[in-house]
């Protein structure tokens, strides 16, 4: 299963480092990553592959939620199909 992780919030050091470290520890491969400042907000979009991970989607989601609170930014993980279905025929 592939998922899209989005991180949106006030820019600070360590957002990418901490997010990718968490994914590394969960054995989740990052397929694509991009980061930009949109409307003065740090915006990162990652495409990740969960098939190599033993951890279930829900446990990763829970860990990302903890990280969200720690960093004070908004972090979402969503199944890639949601975006594919809306934007690709």
């Amino acid at each position: 299963m592939r998922a899209v992780i989005t991180v949106i919030g006030k820019d600070k050091t360590g957002i990418i480092a901490k997010t990718s470290m968490l994914l590394y520890q969960e054995n989740i491969n990052i397929l694509d990553i991009s980061q930009t400042i949109m409307q003065e907000l740090f915006t990162m979009v990652m495409l990740v592959d969960l098939s190599g991970s033993e951890a279930a989607f829900e446990s990763v989601a829970a860990k990302l939620e903890t990280l969200e609170k720690e960093l004070g930014v908004s972090i979402r993980i969503q199944h890639e199909d949601l975006f594919q279905s809306m934007h690709r025929i």
Binding site: T6, T43, V45, L47, E58, H79, L82, F83, S85, H87
Partner: protein
């Protein structure tokens, strides 16, 4: 690879524009629950619903988390109870209680199908269901009821229309302690559809399979923002095209969720219903879309044309996005559930007469209208008759969900709370329709019903 702009657009729709899957509704046939004993039937109904829908809420919540899209309601629709009620002696109320218990057991917030289809006349089961409405809507918490009084094919059963006016009053009286909110769970239809996932009018039609998953998608806020971005000078061509594209995107998401829910529950997928269904939340209003098109307030001249464009563009966008579009698909205009409608009624911009005109082009009808508690039953019947006529002649579904709030008068506000919102009491015509309604019989089907 998806672009960041596309990903952020979806996230923006969900987090800032109230895009949601409004409901996953499981339709369950109860035809095999028939028995000569009311008590046996009650047990069979409870067992079947509880078993079929055991994982409905859990599955819905799981999809919600994985896709990061809110799924507001998980609901159940069952075979019209009138089809079962005639099999056993005694009142049909125990069957409603079984529905209510099963709803609580499975964790759904509404269960529809305490219904009767009487467009040509009453069966013994229809009579039981209709006569028990006040008691059922008082004693149950989650049961929704509907009665179909007309179709384009059969005409309008005016005996049923007369009786439903009385029943609406009786339900209002029976639930007067809760501001007559029993009436919010009772819909009087013409041309009712068999696969509507939205409450209070959902039931599992006889042409439906054993069990089915229907999904209702909403998103007035998304459409409103898309219209707002066009500015004030965009032509109607561009307006319609933009709404169509937006509706397409929203429906695609509904199709995905419907497909996933169907796969995980191992229940066939029925339809996706794309209906712009407002909620009292700010920014989740259909009236605001109409105002965004350039009307000072909803109800101004031009409102009907604006709604016609909206309703049609929504359907066109939805049709291509899903393999099966059904239900009511279009725009709902429930007054008490729409912040823009409420303020339009309060300021005097929107009247019952204008709402009636709007129902000619919206996807349903007069919805969540609060009228004075002393409105005569015959006047309510006449309002139902007018709506039925619109539905019958125009070959569309119309519905009346009207609340004659006991003890309330024009200018008062009735608070239902939650999704049902709050409704300002609207004036009705003070001229009598008593003799008209009292005639009885049936209004024949229109000439264009003879299409064979």
């Amino acid at each position: 690879m998806l672009s960041n702009r596309e990903i952020m657009e979806t996230i923006h729709m969900i987090s800032d524009e109230n895009l949601d899957i409004r409901t996953i509704t499981m339709g369950i046939s109860l035809l095999d629950c028939c028995s000569e004993s009311m008590e046996t039937m009650r047990q069979k109904i409870f067992d079947k619903i509880a078993k079929k829908a055991e994982y409905l809420v859990e599955t819905g919540e799981k999809i919600e988390r994985e896709y990061g899209i809110p799924i507001i309601h998980k609901r159940i629709a069952v075979t019209p109870i009138s089809l079962l009620a005639a099999n056993a002696a005694g009142e049909s109320t125990p069957l409603a209680l079984a529905m209510d218990e099963a709803a609580k057991q499975t964790g759904v917030n509404f269960i529809g199908g305490y219904s009767a289809l009487v467009h040509k006349g009453y069966t013994a089961g229809d009579e039981k269901v209709i006569h028990s409405l006040p008691q059922v809507l008082k004693e149950t918490e989650r049961v929704c009821a509907s009665v179909n009084v007309g179709t384009t094919k059969a005409g309008i059963n005016m005996d049923a229309v007369r009786e439903m006016g009385e029943m609406v009053k009786a339900v209002a009286e029976a639930t007067k302690e809760q501001d007559s909110c029993g009436c919010a769970k009772l819909v009087v239809f013409t041309n009712a559809v068999e696969d509507n996932p939205f409450m209070a009018g959902a039931f599992h039609g006889v042409g439906e399979p054993e069990c089915v998953i229907n999904v209702g998608v909403s998103g007035p806020g998304v459409v409103r923002n898309a219209v707002a971005k066009l500015g004030k000078n965009a032509s109607f061509d561009i307006l319609a095209e933009t709404i169509k594209k937006t509706a397409f995107k929203i429906t695609r998401m509904g199709q995905l969720v419907a497909h996933e829910a169907s796969r995980r529950l191992n229940v066939p997928f029925g339809i996706v219903d794309l209906s712009l269904a407002p909620t009292p939340a700010v920014g989740d209003s259909v009236a605001y879309i109409l105002e965004e098109m350039g009307l000072e307030q909803c109800g101004a001249h031009g409102t009907t044309a604006a709604l016609a464009l909206l309703n049609d563009a929504v359907k066109k966008g939805g049709v291509m996005a899903s393999s099966h579009v059904g239900g009511l698909s279009g725009a709902f205009i429930p007054v008490s559930e729409d912040a823009g409608m409420i303020s339009a009624v309060r300021s005097g911009a929107l009247s019952l007469e204008k709402l009636e005109a709007m129902t000619c082009v919206c996807s349903v009808g007069l919805d969540m209208i609060v009228v004075p508690g002393d409105t005569p039953a015959q006047t309510i019947s006449a309002i139902i008759a007018d709506e039925s006529a619109i539905g019958m002649i125009n070959n569309k579904t119309t519905a009346v969900r009207i609340i004659p709030a006991v003890g309330k008068k024009v200018g008062d506000t009735v608070e239902f709370g939650g999704l049902l919102g709050s409704g300002p009491v609207m004036p009705v015509s003070r001229y009598s329709s008593e003799t008209f309604v009292g005639r009885g019989g049936r209004i024949p089907a229109p000439i264009h019903s003879l299409r064979n």
